[in-house]
Structure formats: C-alpha cells, structure tokens
Symmetry: C2
Subunit: 496 residues, 2 copies
Amino acid sequence: MKPSIIRLRALEKQLYAYLYAMTVIDFDAETVAPEGSADGRAEATEVLSRASFDLLVNDGTAALLKEAAADAETEQERAEVRNLQRQYDEIARIPADEYAAFTKLCSQSVPAWTKAKRTNDFSLFAPYLEKIIAARRAQARYFAPDRDPYEVLLDRYEKGLTIAQCDEFFATLRETIVPLLADIQTRGKAVRTDFLDQEWPIDAQRRVSKKIMELWGLDPAHCYLAESEHPFTTEFWRGDVRITTHYMPRDIFSNLYSVAHEGGHALYELNINPDYDYTVVTHGATMGIHESQSRLFENLVGRSRAFVHYLYPTLKELFPAQLADVSAEEIWRAVNRAEPGLIRTEADELTYSLHIMVRYELEKALMQGTLAVADLPAAWNAKYKEYLGVDVPDDAHGCLQDIHWSMGDIGYFPSYALGSAYGAQALDDLRKTNDFDAQWANGDMEPLKAALKERVWQWGSMKEPAWLVESLCGGKFDPHHFTDYLKKKYTELYEL
Amino acid sequence: MKPSIIRLRALEKQLYAYLYAMTVIDFDAETVAPEGSADGRAEATEVLSRASFDLLVNDGTAALLKEAAADAETEQERAEVRNLQRQYDEIARIPADEYAAFTKLCSQSVPAWTKAKRTNDFSLFAPYLEKIIAARRAQARYFAPDRDPYEVLLDRYEKGLTIAQCDEFFATLRETIVPLLADIQTRGKAVRTDFLDQEWPIDAQRRVSKKIMELWGLDPAHCYLAESEHPFTTEFWRGDVRITTHYMPRDIFSNLYSVAHEGGHALYELNINPDYDYTVVTHGATMGIHESQSRLFENLVGRSRAFVHYLYPTLKELFPAQLADVSAEEIWRAVNRAEPGLIRTEADELTYSLHIMVRYELEKALMQGTLAVADLPAAWNAKYKEYLGVDVPDDAHGCLQDIHWSMGDIGYFPSYALGSAYGAQALDDLRKTNDFDAQWANGDMEPLKAALKERVWQWGSMKEPAWLVESLCGGKFDPHHFTDYLKKKYTELYEL
C-alpha cells in the first residue's frame, strides 16, 4: 500500500470516529434522552461537527486526495478516494460563507416548519422554503453550471439518476396504480378489518419483534432493538447496528412491520465486507438502494401470502383471544389493504408511491421555477385529489406534513419509491432459480439473504449505485416488474 | 472578560464536547450496547481521546493558561484556570513516552486482572500490579519529589488530603467499628430476615424506583433512569444526568437503595450553578464529596427509621403478599443489619468502612515499599480475619475482587469511606436547626436539599475540596460524628 493510501486510511478512521460519536449521540437523543437535555447536546455536537468538518475540508486533504488518486492500486482504494473526494466536493465547491449561511438557514427553517405545521400556517414556512430553493439552485450551479439544478440534486442522493429516468419511472407507476386503485374502490371485494382495532398487549408484541428478528437472522450480539417515537435504523459500525420500533397498544401490525422494515436495513449494514471497516466505503450505498432492502423485507417478504401464513400460528399463540375467529387469509388481506389517505408515512404498499409522486412533481417544479412557493398548497391539494382521490383538509395534513424540505433535502423523495421497484425486479429475477414462496412458507430466509448478500450487501458503497442497482435487479432497471407485481397482487387480493 | 479568558472558555467548551461524546459512548456501552460492539467502539474512542488529549496538552494551552492566570478577575475565572492547570499538569508533567507506556500498561492490566479473578490465579495479575505501583511511584515524584508518593496520589483524588488525616480517620473508625461489630455478634438481638428472599415482581420494583425519584425530586426531564449490570451515575451536562439501577427478582432492596444512592449523586450534579455550564468547574468536586451526597441519601436518609416508616405504606401497597406479616420496624432492622462478609460492594453501612480500611492500609504499604506484591494475598486475608472476622477462601473473593488497582487507581479507596463520615457530620450540624426525622417521616426532602445545595451542590468544583468539606460539615472535619452515629444507630437496632 502506497504511503498516501496509508495516510488516507488514517484520515478515514478519524472521520469514522467523529461520525461514530455523532451517531451515538443522535441514537441516545431519539431513544432515551430526557426532554430537557437538548441544550448541552447542541453545544457538544456543534463542536464535534466543526472538528469533523475541519478534518475533511482543508488544503492538506485536497492534496492528499490528489496524491492518493494517482497512487490507488486496488478497486477498494480507488473507491475510497472517489467517495471521499465526493464528500469533499459536496462541501468544498460551495464558498465557505455560503455553506455556513445554508447550514444556519436550515437550522432556522426546521423550527419554522415545526411551528407552521403545528399552527397549520404555511405562511410561516414559505419564506424559508423560498430561500432554501434559491440556495439549492445556487449550489447546484457550483457543481454543474450547465445542468438542470434539480437533476444535480437527484444525482446527489442517487448517483447517476436523471430527470428522464424519474419521469419515465413515475409515469409508469401512475399509469398502473391510479386506475388499479380506482378499480379496487369501485369493484374490489371488501377486506375484513374489524379485528384490527383491539387491545394487543405490549409484552406479546415484544415477542413478535423477537420472532421477526430471529427469522431475519439478526444476531442480538450485533443488532440492538430500541424504542423511539418513529422507527429508524442507525449503524455505529458494521458490527453494531441499532434498529428501533414503536409499540402501539391498539395496533399489532405497526410494530411487526417496523421491525421487518428496519431489519432489512440492518441486514444490509451487518453484511458489508469487513475489509471496509472504518473506511468511507463501509456503509450501504444510496438511500434508494437501502430502501430497496428494507421494503423488500417489509413488503415483498413480510406482506407475502406465504410468509403471513407461516407467521399465523405464532400470532395465534401470542394473541389467542384477539385472533380467535380470524384466519391467516384474513390477516394477509388486512395487512395489504389499499386505502388512499393523506399521510405518506401511513400509506399502504399500493398507494405509497403516489405520495412520493406528488412530492417529486412538486419539488421538480419548484426547482425549475415553474411553480412558486406561494402556489404550493393549492398544487399539492390538486394532485392529492387527482392521484389519490382525497380532499386535503389543511396544510398540516398536506404540504407541511414532511420535514424533508425544511432540512434542505430536495431530490431525496424519489429514492423512497425507487427502492420498492428495485426490490420487485430483484425478486422476479431471483425467482428464476428460487422457490421463495416455498421457502418463506417455512420461515426460511437464508437463500434470499445469501442472494442479496452476493448481489448488494457485501459491497457497501464500494461499487457505484448504478452498478449495484443492475446487480440487484439482475439487469437494467425496468419499473414494469414493480407495476406487474402490484397489479397481480392487488387483482388477486381484491378479486378484481 | 479579558481576551485570554474568552479563549480559555472556548477551549473548555471544546474539551466539554469531547468529554460529552465519550460519556454518551460509555453510557451506551454500559446500558444497551450489544455484546459484539466493542471493536468499533474501541477504534472510535481511541481517536476521540487522542484528539481531546491534543487539545489540552500543547504549548499553546500552556501559554494560554499562563496568560489567563494573570488575567483572571472573578473567583470563577480563577477557579477555571486553576482546575484546567491541574488537568494539564496531571498529564504534561509526566514525560510523554512514560504517559503513553502507562496508558498501555493499564489497558493490558485490566484484562490480566479479569482473567486472574476468573481463574482465581493471583500470579497472572501480580506482575502488572508491580509495574503499576512502580509507575505510580515514578509519576508521584514528577509532581512532588520530596513528598511521600502515596500522599501525592491521595491528593490527586481528594485535593489536600494527607496520610496523617487518613491514618487518624481510619484509626477512629477501627476503634469504634471493630468492637461494635464484635458486640453485635456476641449479644445483639437477632434481626428478622426470613421475608427478604422472596419473589419481588420487577414491575412493582420499577414503581419503587419511580417513587424514590419522585421523593428525591429528580425531574425526569433532566434525569433518566436506565438499567445496567452495576448501578452508576453519569453526567452528560448539568441539565442531563443519567442514573442506572439493576433489578433482582429476589431482592427488593438492592434496587431501592441503588436508586436512593445514585439519586444522591444526581441531585448534586443537577444543582450546580448554571453559570458554570461547559466549563471545567461544572461537575461535582472530588469523589469523596460526591460519595458524601450519595451515601447520605442512601443511608442517613434512606435507611433511617423515619424514612423507612414513611415508605412502609407504599411498599405494603406494592407488595401486599410479600409483606403481609412484616412490620415497618422489621424492615428498618432488616435493611440495616450488620453482617461481616467478604465482598465490599455487598457490605452494609457498618462494615463497609472496614473493607475500605483494609484496602487503604494495603495500598499505602505497597506504595511505601513495606509490603511486596507477592505478599499481598496473605496480608489481605490476615486483615479480613482481624477486622471482619471472616476467612477468605480464595483470592477471587479476596484481593482480586476490585478492579481499581488494575486500572491504575491507587489512593482512590479512602474517598469511599470519607464520604459517609462527611455526611454524618453535616447532618449533625444541620439538625441543630432542622427536625429531619419529622420531615422525612412525611417524605419531605426539601429542607435537606436546600441546605445541601447552599453548602455544596451549587459550587460544582469551583471551590477547593477542603473548603467544600468544611462548608458541608459546618466546621472542621471530625470523624467522631460518624462513629457516634454508628454507635447510636447499631446500639439501638441490636438492643445492645
């Protein structure tokens, strides 16, 4: 290994340590930190993030990256240089004062959004959103002055993703899902839901979590399950991944599918090649690829007929009174029912992508200047009516529901929908050589896990996202696998 | 504020941030971190502690401290300079290579001790202990070449503490406790203990924890209760203190008195003057002063007759079957029973100090060269026979039981005993103007808390330990308050 690579590795390990500290601090904040703990945490994280920034962005790092780029000999070394250079450019190409101003803007924008949502007053957030869009447009120009600024942002979250690909993707979804949903609503067979709203004791729900973790093969020596307001996954390092769930006394499936979903994220992180430990290629690749794994385990596996039938005896044993007259088939239908609603995070497998589509179209229009911030609420409400058939009662349940834009995250939403589509195509390809339904009907996840580890997990972010997507899908990405899956599943479920 | 003080404050806040990160990481490790998480944590903490070390120890800091010492105008500014200078000297007076070698020695010594304890083989630990003693002797010489090296170490943990004071203190304890214990064993009235070993449901035990936290006035917005193998208190900052407990299904009092004890530590940290936030004077002073507060709330309050009688109806309500035929008086006697044993951490209020005395006498002799490491086990066993009347069956239950020496902590043990004595004297003084028994019999802790806040808590470590001890005690320290308290309490309890 050349001396520059040795120095690069040392820098990567330092950056790892700061990231580790910030991650533990965040995890603590989201799980058990007392309510009045925020001030001291803010003081500490400001110092630590500044120290981490200073480690990365300086002339020494710039020179080291240049030297290491010339010296890199292995694929891993080249990937480390490439990914660290991207992190560097992300910050360093923006003039320092603009970067600081943007950080400050976001820190002011989040509380403004919180207040706007709480008081249902979009005008409190609008001026911040205008500034955020202007700043993001300016930043995009530093990266690629001649390119559509929204596409520059898409590329930031999913390396290589274009507006054309997104447009085609969402058009395909719209053509399938909108009429399918209409069909379900006009002539679908009713799904039994009366048994859902009961008391489901938390102790028994905890045993459901344990069962799912066992089935997914999440080793408690390396994967801890905590509780938080909103479920999430966070990786301290490859050997220590934390997932969280939230128990609701009157909803057994919220916890079950949270653990199934976060467990998918965790499997990815836990199965990355140990050679990448403490380097910048050690974590899962893009958010879209990460979501492909979590949604695959949550929906394609967890909500499959085979798996629900497999889980049925366990559920009956844990909840004998609650499920006394409920069949496995009725559970399968209930956890898959399609119900257009207002809130993205509560959406079912079928309508979820429509929520994302609304956000994609609106943020693209905002960035391209064809929609003014002042007109956002009306545009939002019109699209919800058109795609989901629902009337938005107020902005708190409409365009103010998500935190993303207030944090400066524009171009991030499409990843949520792409993940589901990647997963569907991967399964179609893997089914050619695997009888998953028979395996899942026995609770056997090993063949699926082995295939995903080979295609995606092991690589961390050493491979480019486009390569990983193709490896996962077993070929060029084609959203029709996802729409065909939805059509087949929902036609059967609603006996259309 | 002079410019040098402003720069000093900035440095203090940076050091605070690193300490915050390390504290959160430790807390996570002790409470919920999965078993297989250690490697990545070690890598991260090595980087962070090195970064924190480099922030403190450099020529710039040395110059800044000099400048700030001349510029300090207020008492707080002077205290910050003084305490930071001490932290600096602690490290910087030792040659860098010796400091690094000692850090490495301790990191090897702890696993060696663990293995020695597990396999009951003192010879595995002896060579490390020899090196640790030699290194500590050498270090003491850098601080004060003409002073007894053991006294230099005592001073390190309890600023101003001398061997003469310690000798006198332990002599007073020995003269009282050894014959008192013999008296109890020969002619004390038997204490009823048959009801202790029962099933005490954990859910009800959790409500006991909650009750104690409420009575102590520990606001859950600033004080979180977690679970860990061994109970401890850790402060993230003045507004965020964590305490832990451990629930044992067949022991209700272990948890109760753990929360009472750790709650005392927490009250101290939570009541420090907010003006000291993020500076080096923001935490409680020495370990002895800290223990005075925790043992005060655990023993002097929590094991008092008045308080046990106050708590009795709550315990009866939570454990009606377990306590059906047990009186408040029987509980009071049971939680105060004196039983000489082998293990320090399980000792009662009376015999605890004897365990500390053994360690004090032995570590002093080791440091002064009058006891060889090879002779430690025999010396240990002889003292346990003499003071506690017990036969030590093996070194695992004898001189290998505590981790302290393996971590390089020599001179630390006396603080454990001093704390109890400080607290007893403080209460004697405060009782002149407070009827605590009447207050505690009503569950009223406010007058006690107000007095302790005024005398000690508010000051953090801005005042010198000697000043704080005198403020707490209401005069010069005199261990007879503690021995008189023990004599009176145990004479009454055992009807001697």
